[in-house]
Amino acid sequence: MAIEGFTHLICFAAGHEIIRQGRRDLTLARLTPDLVYDQMVAAGCARKLIFSWLGNPGVGSLHAVRRAIEGGGLELEEYSHFGMVGRYVAGAAHLPFYPLRSYAGSDLPAANPLIQWVASPYAPGDEVAVVPALNPNVTIIHAQRADTEGNVQVWGLVGVQREAALAAERVIAVVEELVETEVIRADPDRTLLPGVAVTAVCVEPYGAHPSFAQGYYDRDNAFYRAWDPISRDPAQLDAWLEEWVRGVPDRAGYLEKLGPETVAALKPKPRPSGSVDYGEYS
């Protein structure tokens, strides 16, 4: 499975619910495992990571993941960012591989035999790196809004959310708010995924905290920094999971613990996109 969202719109609500359900032996794909997979690895959910950058952005390491790797308890399948992007693209496009100009002269292909090469039929001797399609059983994405038909809209960074979702057998979209279909249809360019491609929509305001939702709330950089000492100490980490994940029944419980002051402090001032005219043609 994959929980995607590059820095933006990382669905912690889903990660926490998976921890509460006590899932085990998951293969977790994500470009940047981030805190959400550090927490899931610490909780014992994961057997394997498929990834391209393993850190706490701007802070340092994901200590639970590092301990699991250095202890030999976590299998790794490693790419570069563009390799991971390509895996989802190939998966979404029903192609066996995605070609990219990377890896030549790097030790990554030696570390990961799934990185292969194909010869260009247009230039003798020109070999292009390829990565295989990735088709998660489930992809969970977070988004700003959806309607009851399952049409999902995002603005700001979209990362690999469209490709990761369309590569999956099932797609769960968690959104900040439900809106009328007419709001969606007024601006079809903003639709990341049409309803025909979405299995389920869940409404979970602030479900991406401590990551952010453009226009809704800021990245909680203080929490990302605070995570470093927590994650460094297994006992502290377990206590954190007990208190903030297993100790609350759902996302509403987490938000209540977080408190209205923290939530309010993350709210940005408004900055409207402005409106464009699609025209009414009849």
């Binding site: 038909e149 369309l166 079809p188 639709t191 491609a197 009414e280 043609y281």
Partner: protein, 224 residues
């Protein structure tokens, strides 16, 4: 039931879309059929156009598949790359609606040339998206006019592959189901398990002699 030949074809094609969720629509009769189907037998039908529109709700019958009325009020617009790669090739299209100038018994469609490719008697528009629709939609419904020049023993050019190439090659393993139904002003045709076309229904007022007179090979019969 009566109507012009075009109306008969549109009504029969719309009936094929009953309960369908996603249809990839070409211009002309397919477009009229899809719009009719959504208003009747397939209220949840999402009209998907190769121009990059999903879930169009056109306020008028558009002249082209890239009409502005298809965009205003649609659920999604996207680049042709994303639409062809992730929706069509990605296996999310239940029905592809195609037209053709020629069809053979295996459902191979020609929209490229009449006569030899290098020196055509008539140059037709070519594939557009038809070649990939024929290969990637879960099933293909063809709407076309029937005559001895269009229902032929050998198409002059295979633009969009049917169940078997004239040279004997079969469909690749990754492909969708291919031609499922051919609808003309004379009849409705489906394909046997061996991939050969068979007549399954006559349009109102049509008899076997009309079919025979308009076909370039003796079409197998499988009337209900």
């Amino acid at each position: 039931m009566s109507g012009t030949p075009d109306e008969l074809m549109v009504a029969a094609a719309a009936a094929e879309l009953a309960g369908v969720r996603t249809v990839f629509v070409g211009i002309g009769l397919p477009n009229a059929a899809a719009i009719l189907a959504r208003r009747t037998v397939a209220p949840d039908l999402e009209l998907i156009y190769e121009s990059g529109v999903i879930g169009a709700r056109p306020s008028r019958l558009p002249d082209s598949i890239g009409d502005p009325a298809l965009v205003s009020g649609a659920t999604a617009t996207m680049s042709m790359h994303d639409l062809f790669a992730y929706f069509l090739q990605g296996g999310r299209i239940e029905v592809g609606l195609l037209g053709a100038a020629q069809v053979d018994r295996w459902g191979n469609l020609n929209t490229t040339v009449i006569g030899p490719y290098a020196n055509p008697a008539v140059r037709l528009p070519g594939s557009g998206g038809a070649c990939e629709i024929a290969l990637n939609a879960a099933r293909v419904v063809v709407v076309m006019s029937q005559s001895p020049r269009s229902f032929v023993e050998h198409v002059d050019f295979v633009t969009s592959p049917g169940h078997r190439h004239p040279d004997g090659r079969s469909r690749p393993a990754w492909a969708g189901g291919g031609p499922d139904t051919v609808i003309t002003q004379l009849g409705v045709y489906r394909f046997g398990t061996d991939g050969e076309m068979q007549l399954t229904a006559l349009q109102p007022g049509v008899d076997q002699a009309d079919i025979d007179a308009a076909s370039g090979w003796p079409i197998r019969r499988a009337l209900a």
